[in-house]
Amino acid sequence: MIAIVDYGAGNLVSVKKAFDHLRQDCVITSDPAQLSSAAKIVLPGVGHFASTASLARTGLQDAIQHAIARAVPFLGICVGMQWMFSRSAESPETPGLGLFPGECQRFPATVKSPHVGWNSLQIDSSSRLFQNVPSSSYVYFTHSFHAPISEVTVACCDYGGSFAAAVERDHLFGVQFHPEKSGETGLQLLSNFCAL
């Protein structure tokens, strides 16, 4: 069973719909106990980085950390990916989970912000998440902050400079774009995550 974590941040229906379409058993939950029995965990998120603060308050963060320690595959989407880093300039007082070092930054003033729409990726072919996804595929973004490029980056995107569109290390995955809104490319990626 795939658990989609509900922490009151935005709309989770589209994520569930995509997994339903892939005929995956999934549930939207805000119950930490349910995360302990999940085979995989997805942390969606839209909106403000500060919204992730409720994860610590509700016990969901502990449940996620325990699952990650048990090597349960974890996928962070959008703000969910940003939360995997140490912190974000959007809300410096809200700590991230710190799975990856670095701080999420705002786009430079030279480009319109938010970055909204379909942009192309440069994909590291060794990525497990991007199996059978051709490099330069288009995916749908909507965000004002982004994670830095580092050794865990497996897909880059260019908007006012290069930024990390996806990260991957062992059973930890994060995507800045919305795979549930990225047509066939996004469904392929989610299907790869399900197959792990």
Binding site: A9, G10, N11, V13, S14, K17, A18, H21, V46, G47, H48, K112, S113, P114, H115, V116, G117, W118, N119, S120, Y138, Y140, T142, H143, D158, Y159, E180, K181, S182, G183, E184, G186, L187
Partner: protein
Amino acid sequence: MLTKRVIACLDVDAGRVVKGVQFSNLRDAGDPPELAKAHSDSGADEIVMLDISAARQNRATLLDTVQRAARQLFIPFTVGGGIRTLDDAAAVFSAGADKISINSAALAHPDLITQIAQRFGSQAVVVAIDAKRCVNAPVWLAFTHGGRTVARRDAVAWAREAEARGAGEILLTSMDRDGTGAGFDCDLTRAVADSVRIPVIASGGAGGPAHFVDVFRHGHADAALAASIFHYGFSRLADLKQSLGSEGIPVRWPC
């Protein structure tokens, strides 16, 4: 490179897709979920569904139509028409919309923009502006209730206010061009696009690929929306995106 979006719009009245000329003379064009899926398959970057009679007939958006359409869509899906409160918006999101579009209610209660943005994020809030050019002046006024009421707001000033209140995108329709196929109003689009930092979706007047090229190049639009040219088979979306690509406009093609 960030691409220019081509958005297919479904104007829905009483559960059917319709399309009029300058906001009247409606013609039936089909079943909303079926058309939404077909447009997505042929390369639309996004689907917008507007319940065009909702605001003036004072009835709720057709949630079951939204739900049926959303089930088959894995690209961004915006729903508008008849959303007056935070609860109305929440119901539309629950039915599967990714963004809501508000027009009349936003002008009447601008705070609604902020309320929805705080709960669902700015990326989920599209403020739709129906604008009509004043005679003999490069000034456009915003209208509400499906083009039936003048809000007496300058469209550019209203777009800026909407952005400041938390709107994530502006859907800008030229009432003068709507359904005419005479081309987008590039002056209007540029006036708004150059005044805000959020994306502007140009709408009204699409008749062929050259109009899209114009509004992206000269209107500074981030996205362009059309309805009738796609529904009645005047122009296939896939052909349109190919033409745009060959003109040097960055588009998502092949999808």
